[in-house]
């Protein structure tokens, strides 16, 4: 029987980052995941990529993961938002001295860097692949029994299992949930015209078509990741299209601005939905990442919201053990819940609102959207607020997200 301060169910990007942030401050964790790490970090680009907001990047640097990712990400220097291919785009281009708005990474690079850091950490036990058969939480602690009979104990259970968190369901935490009846098609394109480190968010009635700049692929040609929102009923056909037909459709959405296109990764789809729960803790349980909130990936905020959970929960637990509290103390969980609930609701609601606004067809809606984009473009305070949001720097920031250790 092995004991640690916390047991983390889910060793994905958010779960491992939390384990590493805690380790950097002397807190121990046991990370249990059903996935086989060998397949997770198999060579070759699977088309999954993430925009790491600058605040999230500061945290990765502060906990020693950044060094392993140096030179593997593509900085986003500008974001251009437009209503279809109409003129009058909204440009977010910060002063270069302020650093990029975010950095695009292949998820595989993130997974590798996190796994290497976790393996080298003194206070992290990785238990994967493994499946929990029984989870008990009581007044004094948490006990997880695996299917193979191994038993682990800790002071706090953390669910980082993703949107369909079984631990959340078992704890009886209800979530507000709806689906958009839309699906994101995710892939990557190689193109002739360099992207110039610009991300594009082009809104269509079915949803946004987003292009995110990546580092060149193995053949040296410029690459961009795409997140293409389509009606759920159209998704199977989109996935089944030949490369040539798919690229032609994509090119139409982009107005040919990146020149000739080639497929640079397999296509996959991701059902879009909104879920939110004000309650992200229970007795000796804390939810992080998509277990706590699933949002539309329109602005790339899902992972960054998860990183903000990590920054807040790590700080709360580190502060807590330094004053002698048990990591599962109800006062600590209450602080984490207060800190996170408003922020995640705001982000979820604003991305949800944006999706709905852009999903309304008709001339009036078009005029409102143009007016809205124009207003944001013209009002510096509003624009700064949107940029802070993109960087993940709004709200009461945990120290880790300011690039500081706790």
């Amino acid at each position: 029987m092995e004991r640690a301060d916390v047991i983390i169910l889910g060793g994905g990007l958010v779960g491992l980052t939390l384990a590493i942030a805690l380790d950097a401050h002397g807190l121990s964790s046991i990370v249990i995941d059903v996935a086989n790490p060998e397949t997770q970090i198999a060579p070759g680009f699977d088309g999954r990529a993430s925009a790491v907001a600058s605040a999230s990047w500061k945290m990765l640097e502060a906990i020693g993961v950044g060094a392993r990712l140096e030179g593997q990400g593509c900085p986003i220097r500008e974001i251009r938002v437009s209503d279809g291919l109409s003129k009058g785009t909204l440009n977010f281009a910060p002063d270069p001295a302020e650093g990029p708005l975010g950095i695009m990474f292949e998820n595989r690079a993130l997974r590798l860097a996190l796994r290497e850091t976790a393996l080298a950490a003194q206070n992290i036990t990785l238990v994967m692949p493994a499946r929990a058969a029984d989870v008990q939480r009581d007044e004094h602690g948490v006990t997880v029994t695996l299917e193979d009979g191994r038993i682990f104990t800790g002071s706090l259970l953390i669910a980082a299992e993703g949107r369909k968190s079984p631990t959340r369901a078992a704890a009886g935490i209800n979530i507000a949930h709806w689906t958009y009846d839309h699906v994101a098609i995710i892939s990557a394109l190689a193109h002739d015209v360099p992207h110039g480190n610009v991300a594009y968010e082009i809104f269509y009635p079915a949803g946004p078509f987003a292009l995110l700049p990546m580092l060149p692929g193995a053949d040296g040609s410029p690459r961009s990741a795409i997140v293409w929102t389509v009606k759920a009923s159209d998704a199977p056909a989109m996935l089944a299209l030949s490369d040539r037909a798919f690229l032609a459709e994509a090119d139409k959405r982009m107005g040919g601005m990146l020149g000739a296109l080639r497929a640079a990764a397999p296509r996959s789809s991701y059902p879009l939905g909104f879920q939110h729960t004000a309650k992200i803790t229970a007795q000796r349980l804390a939810l992080v990442g998509d277990s706590a909130h699933g949002i539309h990936p329109i602005a790339g905020q899902g992972l960054n919201l998860g990183f903000r959970d990590v920054g807040a929960l790590a700080e709360v637990l580190i502060d807590g053990v330094r004053i002698g509290l048990d990591p599962g103390d109800p006062q600590l969980l209450a602080r984490y819940e207060r800190w996170r609930s408003l922020d995640s609701l705001m982000v979820a609601a604003s991305t949800d609102g944006l999706t709905r606004l852009f999903g309304v067809p008709g001339k009036t809606a078009l005029a409102i959207r143009r007016f809205g984009l124009g207003a944001v473009q013209r009002i510096p305070a509003l624009k700064a607020r949107f940029m802070d949001e993109a960087r993940g720097e709004s709200g009461a920031l945990p120290k880790l997200l300011q690039g500081l250790t706790v």
Binding site: E139, V321, R322, I323, G324, L325, P330
Partner: protein, 241 residues
């Protein structure tokens, strides 16, 4: 003499009734649970300031002994044990000590809990002596402070907390707190509250030097916080002269 220092039997019986509920964060001690992290933050800073320990160290009290007098069911003893101290907890109510022992065992913490009074500790010295929200309940505060001072090891640190005797504390703790049931009725006798000046004088009379007095404020929006304002409640740090 023993009776002069003894906690009033009436008050000990009152806390005994609360023992089972002590550790319920939503029970009758809810306010105490909410207060605890703030109080612990003050104690940790005092420890680091006094012994020059690293603020990031997990066990700054390793190798040190600690006494918490009036320990209740161990809300302070357990954190002190996790910070590395060898902890002795003393409380006048045997029910509290029983609850404290059960809880510490569940947490896997070895804490020496004793039902009784400060006189039981004659001859024993501790590096850290704490007594939170106790002095306002004792019959002879001067004798109580002398007993605490005599249990402090050379170079040791003493931390006390208690409500101030002001119109604000009467309103907050008795009229509102006990009136609304947020604090169990009959917990406090306002006339026995000490002002910071009175407590400082008692400590000086026992050969101690007060090195810090910090207020503890409460607001509905932000809960408890350390503050310049000592009108409601305050914490005192003292060392031997």
């Amino acid at each position: 003499m023993a009776n002069a220092i003894t906690i009033d039997p009436k008050e000990a019986a009152h806390f005994g009734k609360m023992a089972a509920e002590w550790w319920d964060p939503k029970g009758s001690s809810a306010m105490l649970h909410r207060l605890n992290p703030v109080r612990l933050g003050y104690i940790r800073a005092a420890i680091d300031g006094h012994w020059h320990t690293d603020i990031a160290a997990r066990r700054p009290l390793a190798g040190k002994s600690a006494l918490d007098l009036g320990c209740g069911a161990g809300l302070l003893c357990e954190p002190l044990a996790r910070l590395g101290a060898t902890v002795t907890g003393v409380d006048a109510a045997p029910e509290n000590i029983a609850a404290a022992r059960i809880h510490a065992a569940g947490q896997g913490l070895a804490i020496d809990y004793r039902a009784g009074e400060v006189e039981q500790l004659v001859g024993q010295r501790f590096d850290l002596v704490t007594s939170m929200e106790v002095i306002e309940h004792v019959a002879d505060p001067a004798a109580f402070v002398r007993a605490l001072a005599s249990s402090l090891a050379p170079g040791g640190l003493m931390i006390l907390s208690t409500p101030n005797r002001t119109a604000v504390s009467r309103l907050a703790m008795i009229t509102v707190g006990e009136g609304l049931g947020r604090i169990p009725r009959g917990t406090h006798d306002w006339d026995k509250f000490l002002t910071p000046e009175e407590l400082t004088a008692l400590l000086e009379g026992a050969g101690m030097v007060v090195t810090d007095v910090t207020g503890l404020s409460f607001s509905v929006g932000h809960g408890f916080a350390l503050s310049e304002n000592r009108a409601l409640n305050y914490l005192v740090t003292a060392v031997a002269q």
